[in-house]
Structures are given as C-alpha cells and as structure tokens.
Amino acid sequence: MHGTIDSLYRYPVKGLTPEPLDRVALEAGRAFPADRLFALAKPTGAYDAENFVPLSKREYFVLLNTDRLAGLAARYDPENRTMRVTVQGHPVLEADFGTAEGRAEFVELYARVADLPDGVRPVLAEQPGYNFTDNANDGPRMMNTISLINRASIRDLEQRIGRELDPLRFRANVYLEGLEPWAERQWIGRELRLGGSGGSGGVTVRVVEETERCAATEVDPTTARRDVPVVRLLHENYGHEIMGVFAEVLSGGELAVGDTVSVGDEEAA
C-alpha cells in the first residue's frame, strides 16, 4: 500500500499552535526535532524544574483545559531562541527565550490568555533532552516517537458525523494521504518507509502504539472554540477513541511534503 506525506508539523510549545514544515531531518531513536521543547506548567502544581519528573498533562496549560491557546499563533525559531506570537496576523509578542526578560514576557502573555489571577503566571518548563509529549510519561522510548495521522481516517469520521474536522485537531507530526481509512490500525509492529524516492535517503520507522485521543481534540484550531465532542463521537461510531499512531525512527534521514510512504510486510513487534 502506498501513500504520500501530506504535511509535516512541529509544536515547539506543548498546547500551543502548530508550525508547518516543508521538510524535516529525523534521527534514529529521536523524536521530531524542536517538538514540544517547552510547556507552560501550572504555577502551583507538581512541576519542579530542579527535581523534574514526567507529569500528567493536567499539570500544564494545554488545549484540554485552556481552549483559547489555539487563538494565538506561536512561532519559535530554535536557532535564535526567539518566540513570535501573533493574533490574526498582528504581532503581540516577540520574545528572546535566551533572556529572563523574554521568558517573563512570554509567560505574562499566557497568564492573561489563561486568565490567571494578577501576579500569577505559568512556568515556562524546559528540561534538557526532554520533550513534553503526553507519551514522555511512558519512558524515554515512547518520548522519542513521532506521531502520524491517516487523513482518510479523519475523512471517514467526518462522513459518519456529518461535520468537517480540521486535521490539526489531532496535532500530529506527519499527516498521510492516499491510504485506505483506518489502514493504520493494522500497522502496530510493522515498518513504514517514508520518503527516499528522490534519493534523499528517506526514513524507516516502526509503528509502536495507537493514539488514544483526549478532549483537546474538541477545540477547533481556527476558532479556538470547543465545538465538537470528537472523543465521544469516535467512541459512538467505532467503539474506540483512537486516531493515529506513534512510531519510532529506526533509520534517520530527510522527509519532505509529497514524499511517498510504503508499508512493509507484517512482522512481529
């Protein structure tokens, strides 16, 4: 079965908006680069920068609890460590994450967005070598996976519920086109070959787990409104709450939008 890479995204701050990429270089055994590098931790919660342990997503400001996060477009430049935030294209913040002032301005903005009491701000969480994916709670192996979505499965759900769903509700790194709906449910333990047709080498990944969805998917990424009970509709239509898979990178290389995707033979996990 063959498909193509429809789009590539990273989410530099957990819970904040996606950044589209034309291409990305993946390394074996590593997560998507600059993905969930930061998180906005709850100020009175369990996050302790000095004695960090992986925490539940409830300990962070995320779409699950703060739908308005989707209403501000956040763009991070890992080279210069600068964060630009815009509202409907208008700049509202340009912060240098290399300075304490820049980081303070950033959390001040999101304190307003989350409507925290005066003087209370989120904590900008960053831990060397760690990314704040929900998977990171299941150990380093799962933390270093990438997420994939089959767009045909979203379309199948759209048809069943009679509503359009922005694929970005599911916040994956790699979106695939040209496959049968729900083909990915047969992929656990199998290898996928992504790219490589243009001589760029491509990437081999092994699918390790399906993605159980949460109420973050209820928020429309454009309007920032909680409008469709996606998890419940998955449950009612399919008897599961799954959309997408996680895969580990076996051999690194470059991926680009438009690259082909082929699914290897079934093999043991």
């Binding site: 409830r58 208008h90 109420a215 920032a224 409008d227 419940r232 709450e241």
Partner: protein, 331 residues
C-alpha cells in the same frame, strides 16, 4: 409564567425606517423591579411568538421599561407584529428583567455596538456616564446614517464627550459613529492591540462577535463580554451551576455553568486523576455519595451510575452532589 407582568405602551416612536422604540409602564401604575444595564425582557408579541429585547434607556428609572425593536421582514413574525400592530395604549405581557450581559466595575471600557445592538450598549453608556467613569469609548457601527437608531442622541453625546477633560493619562471619553457605506471597513486592531485594564462589551451580529473574539485572544477572557447563550455547552447541552461537596474534607465547591465538576475540584486544590476529559476513559471516576447526577459519560454502566460519577463531563440534577474518591469501596 407567573412572574410575568402586564404593561401598557405609554409611547412609541420610529427611530429609523424599521426600528421602533416602545416605552412600557406597568398597568397597575407600580414601579418595576430594579434592573441592570445589559438586562433584557421577554415580550409576548401579538404574533404569539415570545421575543427577548434588551432594555435600552436609563435603567435606574423604574417607572418604565424602554426597548427598541427592529422589524425583521424575513423573521418568523415576532418583531413584525410588534412594529406593525402594537400602538400607544395597547397592553402587552412581559417577563421580569434578566441579565446575561452584566456590566462589571472597571477603570476603562470599550463598548462596541452594531445596528440594533446599540440597545443594551446605550443603557450601559448612560449608566457609566452617570457613574462618572472617565475612560469610556463607544464604537457604534451601522450601514448608513439613515439606519442608525439614536443617531442624533449619539451625535450630541459625541460632541459633549469631546468637551470633557480626561482625568487620567490615556483616559478618554469618546463616541465614534462608523457608517459602513460611508467609511468602509473599520480597522479594529489599533483599538484592541493593547488591552490594559479595559473591559470590552460587544453587541452585534455573530460575524462581528466572532471577529472581535478572534482579535482579542491576547486579552483576559474575563474582560471580553458578549451576550451569548450562557449555560448552553458547546455541544448543545444545558449546563446549570451546582455545588459539589468533597466528602473527605467536607469542602463545598461551587461549579459554574461554564466549568466542569473536575475543573472546579482541581481549582479547589483537590487532586483527581484524569485523562481524556470527555467521559470515555474512566480515569477520573468518583464515588457518588449523595445527590442525583446528570450522567453524560459513556463509560459507566447503569448499575455503576448509582454509586459513581465521571466529573469530567457529568453534572448534577439536584442542587448538590457529595462525592468521594472511588478507591473507597461503596457502602
């Protein structure tokens, strides 16, 4: 409804070609209950349809209720019957005033009205000027001068506002009348870029509300006010406030209509493990000690629902629920 009152139309006047103002007084000559700016009444119109209209004059004058009705040619007939059939001296039945658009105390206000949306905003402006608030800005949008209810009054206030000396730096009292056919689209960003301590009140059609909501994502949501269907969840379910008692400590926690029981418990410092937030995974299950739950999850069986509740989606049918961690075996 038993609270409804019979009123007499003591005056009516056309404000524009299709907007009519009605002044209503109680048939028994008594005063109305106090009302707040932003409040509305429901009118039983001659067509048989019940319609809600915002109060639009000085609400501190309890001898009358004033509303303005735009005749909607393509509506179901409620507004048409008001403008075409209700005359001076006629009687109507109206509900008590209810407020879903509360004017909060703030140092600074930006009021935005479009067309007939001026009605509650005018009541707010009158109240704010009476209170002596110095930093108030009104932006009033309409298609043309002819289609602007209260045009002359607003133009007079526009002139008066300019004469008032601002008391604080940056404070201003101003009224901007913006007629789309004359001035084109309004550039909102200069008004919204720096929220400061300002509160924004918007009354207008849904596209305007959506535009301004999108342009104020960097504001505190508690400072952006739009009249909407409060208490109806995104998924069309009615959500009323209730109370939850946390049995281990006896803490009593209010759950507002726009908040989940789980969020209220977490907000009170109670640690409830949770995951999906949509009533499907079962992680946040609590023991239901007392009260009648409105179960909205898809994980609990009918028999489990007697003893357990999922606070991420479920609410209360009774005024109060008493809950406890589910690890404690049900008695």
């Amino acid at each position: 409804m038993s609270d409804d009152e019979t009123v007499v139309v003591s005056a009516r006047r056309m404000l524009t070609a299709d907007v009519c103002e009605f002044e209503l007084r109680r048939a028994d000559g008594a005063l109305f209950e106090p009302a707040e700016p932003g409040a509305h009444i429901t009118v039983h119109t001659p067509s048989g349809e019940a319609r809600s209209y915002s109060l639009t004059a000085d609400v501190s004058d309890r001898s009358r209720r004033v509303i303005a009705v735009r005749r909607d040619e393509n509506g179901r007939g409620g507004s048409r019957s008001m403008v075409d059939e209700v005359h001076d001296g006629d009687t109507l039945v109206i509900s008590p005033a209810r407020n879903a658009f509360e004017l909060v105390e703030a140092p600074s206000y930006l009021l935005v009205a479009a067309g007939i949306g001026i009605t509650p905003i005018r009541a707010m402006l009158i109240e704010l000027l009476r209170r002596g608030v110095t930093d108030v800005r009104l932006v009033y949008l309409s298609r043309s001068r002819d289609e602007t209810p209260y045009l002359e009054e607003m133009e007079e206030m526009e002139e008066i506002a300019e004469l008032i000396e601002p008391t604080a730096a940056g404070a201003e009292r101003s009224i901007t009348l913006h007629h789309r056919t004359l001035h084109g689209a309004l550039d909102w960003w200069p008004l919204l870029e720096t929220p400061g301590e300002r509160h924004l009140y918007v009354c207008g059609p849904e596209p305007l509300q959506n535009e301004l909501r999108a342009l104020t994502m960097h504001w505190r949501p508690s400072r952006v006010h739009m009249e909407d269907f409060a208490g109806v969840s995104a998924f069309g379910e009615i959500s009323l406030p209730f109370e939850v008692d946390w049995q281990p400590t006896g803490a009593r926690i209010p759950v507002t209509s726009d908040q989940t029981m789980l969020a209220a418990l977490e907000g009170a410092g109670i640690d409830v493990d949770s995951s999906c937030g949509s009533g499907t995974c079962g992680t946040c299950r609590l023991r239901l000690v007392e009260g009648e739950a409105d179960h909205r999850d898809v994980v609990l069986t009918e028999s489990e629902r007697v003893h357990f509740v999922m606070p991420c989606v479920s609410r209360a049918l009774s005024d109060r629920l008493v809950v406890a961690p589910s690890a404690v075996a049900p008695q």
